[in-house]
């Protein structure tokens, strides 16, 4: 059954239809052609699909597209201001926290959500914030460096 979804993504109002079984990730990638959020495990375990939903980081692969109705969603495409990258994005580049890059959008959204909660995260806050994101290249130390650098700039 097809349903109509009206939602706000990165500040823009969007209306589109999708099958009721569609995940928010499929809605973003396939219906809206926004390919920044990544499809990886598709079971809510790796965090590559992380988006911010009504202020909170969630796995879009295990969220119903139907639940986007009336919600406010921020994706990786919504972070940069024109050509100027978000401080978290810039910090990932400056510290070399990107290897293959596939997990990076999900990590950055989790870190963005962390800084929305607190501007001065503790080591424990950082660990909790990215505990749901897996980097298969195991570049965690650089990612933590990036978060600490971003914390200084924000």
């Amino acid at each position: 059954m097809s349903i109509t979804i009206t939602t706000k993504i990165n500040g823009h109002s969007v209306t589109a239809t999708a099958d009721a079984s569609t995940s928010l990730l499929e809605f973003l990638r396939d219906t809206l052609e926004m390919k920044g959020s990544k499809l990886c495990c598709n079971t809510g375990e790796c965090g590559a699909c992380t988006v911010i939903y009504n202020g909170k980081p969630i796995n879009s692969c295990v969220t119903m597209a139907a639940d986007a109705n009336g919600a406010e969603i921020t994706t990786i495409e919504g972070l940069a201001d024109g050509d100027k990258l978000h401080p978290v994005q810039q910090a990932f580049i400056d510290t070399g926290a990107v290897q293959c890059g596939y997990c990076t959008p999900g990590f950055i959204m989790s870190v963005k959500a962390l800084f929305d909660r607190t501007k001065k995260p503790t080591a424990q806050d950082i660990e909790e914030a990215i505990s749901g994101n897996i980097c298969r290249c195991t570049g965690y130390n650089k990612i933590v460096d990036a978060i600490q650098l971003a914390a200084q700039k924000l």
Binding site: M1, I3, D19, A20, S21, S23, N42, T43, G44, E45, G47, T50, Y53, K56, P57, I58, N59, C61, V62, T63, M64, A66, D67, S110, E128, A129, S131, G132, N133
Partner: protein, 289 residues
């Protein structure tokens, strides 16, 4: 696939009366969406998130009333839960990732009726109750009889969980939730053990103890024989060993990709011992005799 978005409990119940056999209730979606992609697509989805009044935590006499749509993160960050029901807080804190905790609901964790559901062993030792709505009225069911098998509960496919009632544990009691998993919180528990111990007023012996076991039987279970053995006695080293072994014998684990049945039984024994020891020390201030 049909899709329903009921706006009230009674509307949901009439949808379930008609489509309950083939449709699935969906709330957070962290389990059901995975089923849709990797198992079988159900005949329909009943999205209950638009029903008002099914979310939130409030004090209700000598306990907390938790709405089934309350997210695990809202439970984890609620100060009443942290102060009054620390064993439920511990389980919520160790529940999957932050992303999952932000969407998964306690009602979903319960109605999924998975033996390894993180909040279930704590709810068993807290002697919490489920309030269920059916077409012909409401029913209050203790969690000790709510779970009937993997994926099966007293809610059946026409009932709706509308409230979780959690009484405060007895004054002076101490509790703990211990989870054994390879990757910490992100992983599904191989074994989860919840212990709630109440010492008698002189703090010399155990007045009451409740042991809840997760992931080691077709449903989350209590260990009644071990509990009976401990009641009325001071916790000695030999009693501790005996009770832990008895709890392990009361479990009936399976072998799967996470661990063997034999290994799980060892872990039940080890975690029960640890849980009893910790709660005894915390509740009485005494070492094991």
């Amino acid at each position: 696939m049909e899709y329903f978005e009921p706006r009230s409990v009674s509307e949901a119940l009439s949808v379930l009366a008609k489509h309950g056999a083939e449709a699935k209730i969906i709330a957070g979606g962290t389990d059901v969406m995975v089923d849709i992609k990797f198992k079988e697509e159900p005949g329909g989805l009943v999205n209950i998130k638009k029903i008002p009044g099914l979310s939130g935590i409030s004090e209700n006499g000598a306990g907390l009333r938790i709405g089934p749509l309350t997210t695990i993160r809202d439970i984890e960050t609620n100060t009443l839960v942290r102060d009054k029901l620390p064993v439920l807080w511990e389980a919520s804190h160790q529940f999957a990732s932050l992303q999952v905790r932000n969407t998964a609901t306690i009602g979903g964790n319960i109605c999924r009726a998975s033996p390894s559901g993180e909040t279930l062993a704590p709810l068993l030792v807290l002697e919490a109750k489920a309030k269920l709505a059916f077409g012909d009225g409401e029913k209050s069911v203790p969690f000790t009889s709510f779970f009937q098998g993997p994926g099966k509960s007293s809610a059946g496919n026409t009932g709706l969980l509308i409230e979780i009632d959690v009484p405060y544990p007895p004054p002076g009691s101490k509790s703990v939730y211990l989870k054994h998993a390879v990757r910490g919180a992100m992983d599904i528990a191989m074994v989860g053990v919840a212990v709630l111990m109440t010492p008698e007023s002189g703090k010399n012996s155990i007045e009451d103890v409740r042991i809840g076991l997760g992931a080691v039987a077709p449903t989350p279970v209590r260990a009644p024989k071990a509990e009976a053995l401990l009641r009325g006695k001071p916790l000695s080293a030999s009693l501790l060993r005996e009770a832990a072994a008895l709890a392990a014998s009361e479990s009936s684990p399976i072998t799967d990709q996470r661990s063997s049945a034999e290994y799980r039984r060892w872990i039940v024994e080890a975690l029960t011992r640890k849980g009893l020891e910790q709660t005894w020390k915390a509740a009485t201030g005494k070492e094991i005799a």
